[in-house]
């Protein structure tokens, strides 16, 4: 879905405001939210793509009004309820039902937090060769889907060049829409800035994205 999270190229948000000597957390609860997010992802009931898609479904005015960790809090609670990690009643009362119907889950404990610090590897071995080579010209699709995608609006229906092949990775669009990893080749694609922004950008600028193979067409062949 092309919700407010897809911010690339939008105007009107004002200047970037870096904060001098910014603390890691501005308030204590922000750290708790981060710890909870890591712990919940560790349970393996859903992955980072599902978490991202949940953020995308926050209403646009709330997405823009809430802070980053407020959005996380909202999303963690909403997804946990949606996926039955706990019930509405349990959340309100703070007390777990006597009989828990959830599958046996292994929580993250203080003995093995190290496992939660190294980023997950989303590359998947498999058969088949990448369809494109470094140097190939490609056109990104005009892709509008109601589910999740990682092809930003600003980079659609644009001509670019493959500059790297990054391996075969879990396909976020598939994970969110039907829970399957459906690994796809991943490429870094470079676009001339003018191809994307027209005359608004000078000729020294280029934009790069990491694009999954299903986002790409071969000019004049597809």
């Amino acid at each position: 879905m092309d919700s407010i999270h897809d911010l690339g190229g939008m105007d009107g948000f004002g200047p970037v405001r870096p904060e001098h000597d910014e603390p890691v957390f501005h308030e204590k609860w922000e750290g708790s939210v981060l710890g909870l997010q890591r712990s919940i992802l560790y349970l393996g009931l859903w992955n980072i793509d599902v978490f991202r898609h949940a953020q995308e479904r926050i209403r646009p005015n709330e997405y823009l009004s809430w802070s980053y960790y407020e959005r996380w809090t909202h999303t963690l609670i909403a997804t946990a309820l949606e996926r039955g990690l706990f019930s509405d009643e349990e959340f309100r009362s703070g007390i777990a039902d006597a009989v828990s119907s959830s599958a046996p889950l292994v929580p993250l404990t203080s003995r093995d937090t190290d496992k939660a610090f190294v980023r997950g590897n989303f590359e998947r071995e498999g058969m088949g060769e990448p369809r494109f080579c470094v140097g190939d010209m490609v056109i990104t699709k005009e892709l509008r889907i109601t589910g999740h995608t990682r092809l930003p609006r600003y980079a659609r229906d644009k001509i670019g060049t493959i500059i790297a092949i990054r391996g075969r990775h879990v396909f976020p669009d598939a994970v969110v829409s039907h829970g399957k990893e459906d690994p796809q080749w991943l490429y870094t694609v470079e676009f001339e800035g003018s191809e994307i922004w027209g005359e608004a950008v000078d000729s020294t600028v280029s934009n790069l994205i990491d694009a999954f193979e299903p986002y790409l067409l071969r000019p004049e062949y597809d």
Partner: protein, 212 residues
């Protein structure tokens, strides 16, 4: 959760804000169900507050500056190169190092969310996750960089990398001139977080030399 949740707190006499209450409620039920361990959460906070951070990336960059062989390996596969060094913490897969030069400046963003190389830079600053940065750096990088005090020369090429997948980008800033005689660990102090995102550069002045 509506806007009003944030504005009308404290009505029950509690000193907690609504967001604090919600976080507490989430933690309570997860702990109560045995799905989350409080000590693990504390360790995660401790990790991000004290263990990872830009100092990790800075050490990687400094080594790349002084050790051509490491730099070569880093640009080929940053994850492998870093994990082969015994004195760096382990980093996740698909970390990609991109090198600035006299003719090329690199800058990194995640327009769709807030992807960031946590392994080597710690948690992203608020501005990196904010709408102004995510919206404008892709379409008008020079103006945004100017707001960071970074004025690029007119002809310099600018590559804006949008982290749209599980690859993560670490910018290798240019080594400042006049630092030939400086040790690797002192060089690391010149490498700022922003220089590794691409919204800054590593710099060195006679003054900092005096103090180093």
């Amino acid at each position: 959760m509506s806007d009003s949740d944030h504005h009308h707190s404290h009505e029950d006499g509690s000193t907690l804000t609504d967001i604090q209450k919600r976080v507490k409620a989430l933690e309570s039920i997860l702990v109560s169900k045995g799905l989350v361990e409080r000590a693990a959460i504390d360790q995660i906070i401790e990790h991000f507050e004290h263990k990872v951070g830009p100092h990790v990336g800075a050490r990687v960059v400094a080594r790349a500056w002084v050790n051509p062989e490491f730099k070569h390996a880093l640009l080929k596969d940053a994850t492998q190169a870093i994990n082969h060094q015994s004195d760096f913490p382990e980093v996740g897969q698909h970390l990609i190092a991109i090198e600035n030069s006299d003719s090329l400046h690199n800058v990194v963003v995640c327009t769709l969310c807030s992807c960031y190389p946590w392994d080597v830079l710690g948690l992203p600053p608020v501005w990196y996750k904010s709408a102004p940065y995510r919206s404008r750096i892709v379409s008008d990088p020079r103006s945004v960089l100017k707001e960071f005090g970074l004025k690029l020369s007119v002809g310099k090429k600018v590559r804006v990398w949008d982290s749209t997948a599980e690859t993560r980008y670490l910018v290798i800033p240019q080594r400042p001139v006049g630092t030939e005689a400086i040790s690797e660990s002192e060089l690391a102090k010149l490498v700022t977080r922003d220089s590794m995102i691409g919204t800054g550069v590593a710099s060195f002045s006679a003054e900092s030399k005096d103090h180093g």
